[in-house]
């Protein structure tokens, strides 16, 4: 059965399609996203406090490598098969190399609803997967620029140190790591006083956030026809291929069935919060609407509606 939060996403999509005047205030969106990032971090941190470092280090290394590898794999596909220019290909590749926190939240909710156990410190994987894909995407764009013989990044006022600051201390990574740290330090007992807010209310807040994402994704649907069938096909097929990559890696790491499904969903997801802002500054030549339309207009709905159940099936097949 479909998870209740997914219906809120569909409600948001529907509101856009029927041109309802529904809009969530920007401040609410900000508040909800801060809440989700902290809640996911805290939950992961509490579990992390029960783990030994030895078991986790290989997972951490895998996440960093996966984030770097995905853009490198997708770039030639986007260049040759989708027919994008070097900047657009690098930018789209970066979005898919990074992750979607909400896809993670929906995947966790899906597994929890089915009583399927997974490594509860998985929030750490999310935090580690955010940045490497963006860095690899920017490096690809610089390489494409050099090959074209164009001007260097200096013209756009871009600097790697400013980017590192924005990515590593930007809202997403900062709040996830902050929540993870507080959760690890305080453990289950220490975080009990705030658990009613961050644990019990989580799914309701996720539903509200998905309503907003439905509205935003619905707004992107109109742009799909502008970018053609190749981009849509990419945004549907890439997640499936990447999910297999994530799942095989997770299997090799010896993760649980639920853990394999989560890693597959993370590999399949594309960022639409951290990556768009970082890529806009670092690679202004790229068409930002193209990446967001693929990530949020196609891949996110696909993952939430069909992908996550498929990734669980894949995980069950592999285990």
């Amino acid at each position: 059965m479909i998870d209740v939060v997914v219906l809120f996403f569909l409600l948001g999509l529907l509101a856009r399609l029927v041109k309802s005047d529904l809009a969530l205030p920007g401040v609410l969106y900000e508040t909800l996203s801060i809440y989700l990032l902290l809640a996911i971090g805290l939950k992961g941190g509490v579990e992390l406090s029960k783990q030994s470092l030895d078991a986790i280090v290989p997972q951490m290394l895998f996440c960093l490598a996966l984030g770097l590898l995905i853009p490198l794999l997708l770039y030639p596909v986007l260049r040759r098969l989708v027919g994008l220019n070097g900047f657009d290909a690098a930018s789209v590749a970066a979005h898919y190399g990074s992750v979607s926190v909400v896809t993670f939240a929906v995947a966790s909710a899906y597994l929890t609803h089915r009583n399927i156990q997974f490594e509860a410190h998985a929030a750490l994987w999310v935090a580690l997967l955010e940045a490497p894909g963006i860095v690899a995407g920017i490096a690809l764009a610089r390489w494409a620029e050099k090959k074209q013989g164009g001007a260097t990044g200096a013209k756009t006022g871009f600097s790697w140190s400013a980017l590192a600051h924005d990515v590593f201390l930007g809202k997403s990574v900062f709040l996830l790591v902050g929540g993870l740290t507080i959760g690890t330090l305080m453990g289950e007992a220490g975080t009990a006083p705030i658990a009613p807010l961050f644990t019990l209310l989580f799914k309701g807040v996720l539903a509200l956030f998905l309503l907003e994402l439905g509205l935003v994704a619905g707004g992107r649907l109109g742009e799909l026809k502008r970018y053609g069938i190749k981009l849509i096909a990419f945004a549907l097929l890439a997640p499936m291929g990447l999910a297999v990559l994530g799942a095989l890696g997770a299997k090799a790491l010896g993760l649980s069935t639920g853990g394999i499904a989560i890693m597959a969903a993370l590999a399949a997801s594309a960022s639409y919060i951290a990556a768009p802002t970082a890529m806009r500054i670092a690679v202004p030549q790229a068409n930002a609407a193209l990446s967001i339309t693929a990530a949020l207009g196609v891949t996110f709905p696909f993952n939430v509606l069909l992908g996550i159940p498929l990734y669980l099936k894949l995980a069950q097949y592999l285990s």
Partner: protein
């Protein structure tokens, strides 16, 4: 009341440029600025500003004509080819010119 002529430079652009533009404005001699979150659209795109990557800002700078000109040419030269940028000048009057 004695009034002094100044320029008001208004730049409407993508929110990701807020930090670089403020740094540029200070470097080119602006003594202050005001930033608003705004919504809007054109024949190219609609920016509802409902989420991070879609936000637009309006940056207002009151300054001398030379500073406004320098800032405007810098913005056109540096950013206009790849970012959505609209800018305009107005003649305004202030009471305390040393503030600007």
């Amino acid at each position: 009341m004695l009034k002094h002529q100044k320029k008001l430079l208004v730049i409407i652009t993508e929110a990701v440029l807020e930090k670089p533009l403020i740094n540029d404005a200070k470097r080119l001699g602006a003594q202050g600025y005001t930033v608003y979150d705004v919504r809007g659209g054109s024949q190219y795109a609609t920016h509802e500003g409902s989420w991070d990557a879609d936000r637009m800002i309006e940056l207002k700078i009151i300054c001398d004509e030379a500073v406004a000109d320098a800032m405007a040419s810098h913005v056109i030269d540096q950013y206009a080819s790849h970012y959505g940028v609209s800018l305009f000048f107005s003649n305004i009057e202030v009471i305390r010119p040393q503030k600007f």
